[in-house]
């Protein structure tokens, strides 16, 4: 009997671990999906925005001595601006000239390499951590499982930010424009939407969300120039949920977080990533548009 309750405890703990990991993925995946929904390309530089956000917060806290609220605000704005500048410099000329999204994809890979190495050169590769501005002390959940106070906070923050995004998209004029653009960017342009401004707003929002993810990641884990690499998982989550679908990105992230933790815990920790990528491939084979994606049919 004791054995059973022990097993249940471990299982519950793994589920909580999975939810906590999934909530971080969700913040990143939503940014990915947002950009994809409008421009139909996977922005690999998204991880770079996240790193910018993390370092901006670090600098504000350590160098300027700001408090966490000011530092977070600076980080969100900073990453948002970097995202907009990246779009203006690297993507705008390409999307205006051609509709081959492959070129945008390659440019975004280039940008992610550039951002990573700018930090390697000018900040250094050392692993850093934000000062403990957010508590990470253990919290016991009904005596069944343990989690860190930070996880509860990050879950709340994820919900708040994703909720705010949803309200922005559903209740504001620009939200409507973005949804229209996600349906068809060219037509939205013809209907009188300022496409360039719209794309900039999308990138600003995506960058700011990435910064939130960056701050969380650097508190939960650590901050270093290659931190952006973790976005590959968030990207997989976005695909599983359906690229371009925001609820899909959230659901995909939770599924992925749980799958990772349960595989590592109960099957084999070595197979964890193999399961992640198998999930990706199986999703693509069974339903390429993902769980919530819109079906794209070939246009004749």
């Amino acid at each position: 009997m004791k054995e059973v309750s022990h097993g249940l405890e471990t299982f519950l703990q793994q589920v909580i671990n999975g939810l906590s990991l999934g909530s971080v993925y969700a913040l990143i995946a939503v940014g990915y999906s947002l950009v994809y929904s409008v421009l139909l390309f996977s922005n690999f530089a998204h991880g770079g925005f996240l790193v910018v956000g993390g370092y901006a917060c670090y600098a504000a806290l350590k160098v300027l001595g700001a408090n966490i609220w000011v530092a977070s605000a600076m980080s969100l704005v900073g990453a948002g601006i970097v995202a907009v500048v990246t779009e203006r410099l690297a993507y705008k000329p390409i999307r205006e000239r051609t509709n081959v999204t492959l070129y945008l994809l390659i440019a975004s890979m280039g940008m992610s390499i550039v951002i990573e190495n700018l930090f390697v050169i000018f900040v250094g590769g050392r692993f850093r951590a934000l000062p403990p501005v957010i508590p990470t002390s253990p919290v016991s959940l009904f005596g069944l499982a343990t989690t860190s106070a930070f996880d509860l906070l990050s879950l709340v923050a994820s919900v708040v930010f994703l909720g705010a995004l949803q309200i922005f998209l559903l209740r504001t004029k620009w939200g409507l424009a973005i949804r229209a653009a996600a349906y068809d960017l060219r037509t939205a342009g013809l209907m009188g939407v300022n496409v360039n401004l719209l794309v900039s707003i999308v990138f600003f929002v995506a960058g700011a969300l990435a910064a939130v993810g960056g701050i969380f990641l650097s508190v939960r884990y650590t901050l270093y120039p290659q931190l952006g690499g973790i976005t590959i998982k968030a990207f997989v989550a976005a695909v599983i949920g359906g690229l371009g679908s925001l609820p899909g990105a959230v659901v995909g992230s939770i599924i992925l977080g749980l799958a990772e933790m349960l595989t590592a815990g109960f099957i084999s920790s070595q197979l964890r990533d193999l399961v992640v990528f198998s999930l990706l491939v199986v999703t693509l084979l069974v339903k390429p548009s993902g769980l919530f994606g819109k079906n794209v049919s070939e246009k004749v």
Partner: protein, 283 residues
């Protein structure tokens, strides 16, 4: 010739062989892959195991490496090539990483992450150049053949091509399998060049580099791919004295070429026709 120059030429040949493979798939059949380093890994490991464990001669072993990559590519291609555009790229990324993870975990055969040492240094300058030339001639024959034109038709308009009676699915699989063979051979040669291979050499970064070189040279131009390989390989070597900036420069070059000339250096033309056009414009 100094060992340094020799090393660069060998590496150029290896990169060019892999580049030609990816170029056929991406530039000619229009299928965009982010996982081709895995086929290099398959070729490298097959050849290493055959030569070291079973003391096979390196020449059949290299061919075997290419064939193993082909077989795996076939079984991957049949289900996944139904996916179009970005979705195939994403699937290939997942599969590429999965293959690498299997190599890392299958310790009894691959010796895992610690790498596979003691491979005979069979990739000498004549071997590399010879392999490159043979594969180059075969490739140009292929792209100018009926199948090569069918590939281009599929790329330009998939639906129109199928309406014209091309078996588009088979053509895409053919292109994938051939490109896997080229990458497999390139991987096998890399193993012989380094005498040592590790799964981490064949990660997503390498896959991206392969595709980037092809786009850089110009989609649909085989000579563009070769030129792209030459430029990228030489740039990384020339900038070695300012080594910490190399990756930064590499990333920036990718962005800049996409911004100012997204069709790549040569566009979709081959070198001779590019020059003719260039001269005509001048006069």
């Amino acid at each position: 010739m100094s060992g340094y120059t020799e090393g660069i030429i060998i590496l150029l040949c290896i990169n060019a062989i892999a580049g030609m493979g990816v170029s056929l798939l991406t530039g000619f059949a229009g299928v965009f892959s982010l996982g081709h380093a895995a086929y290099m890994a398959l070729g490298a490991y097959t050849t290493a195991i055959l030569t070291v464990q079973y003391s096979m001669h390196w020449l059949p072993a290299i061919v075997a490496g290419g064939i193993v990559a082909m077989i795996v590519a076939y079984f991957i291609g049949v289900p996944t090539l139904r996916l179009m555009g970005d979705y195939f790229a994403i699937a290939s990324l997942g599969l590429g990483e999965a293959i690498r993870l299997i190599l890392e975990n299958w310790q009894s055969v691959t010796r895992g992450a610690r790498g596979y040492p003691g491979i005979d240094p069979y990739t000498t300058l004549p071997v590399a150049v010879g392999a490159f030339l043979i594969l180059l001639i075969l490739m140009f024959n292929f792209i100018n053949s009926r199948y090569g034109r069918a590939c281009k038709a599929c790329r330009d308009d998939y639906i129109a091509a199928s309406l014209l009676g091309f078996n588009t699915a088979n053509i895409r699989i053919l292109a994938l399998v051939l490109s896997a063979f080229y990458c497999g051979v390139a991987g096998a040669l890399l193993g012989g060049f380094l005498s040592f291979i590790q799964p981490v050499m064949f990660d997503m970064m390498k896959s991206t580099e392969l595709t980037a070189v092809v786009v850089f040279g110009g989609l649909g131009s085989m000579s563009g791919t070769l030129l792209g390989t030459l430029v990228i390989t030489l740039v990384t070597e020339l900038f070695r004295p300012i080594s910490q900036y190399r990756m930064l420069i590499y990333g920036a070059v990718l962005v800049i070429i996409m911004v100012i000339r997204p069709e790549g250096i040569l566009g979709n033309r081959e070198l001779p026709s590019f020059f003719r056009r260039f001269l005509r414009r001048d006069s």
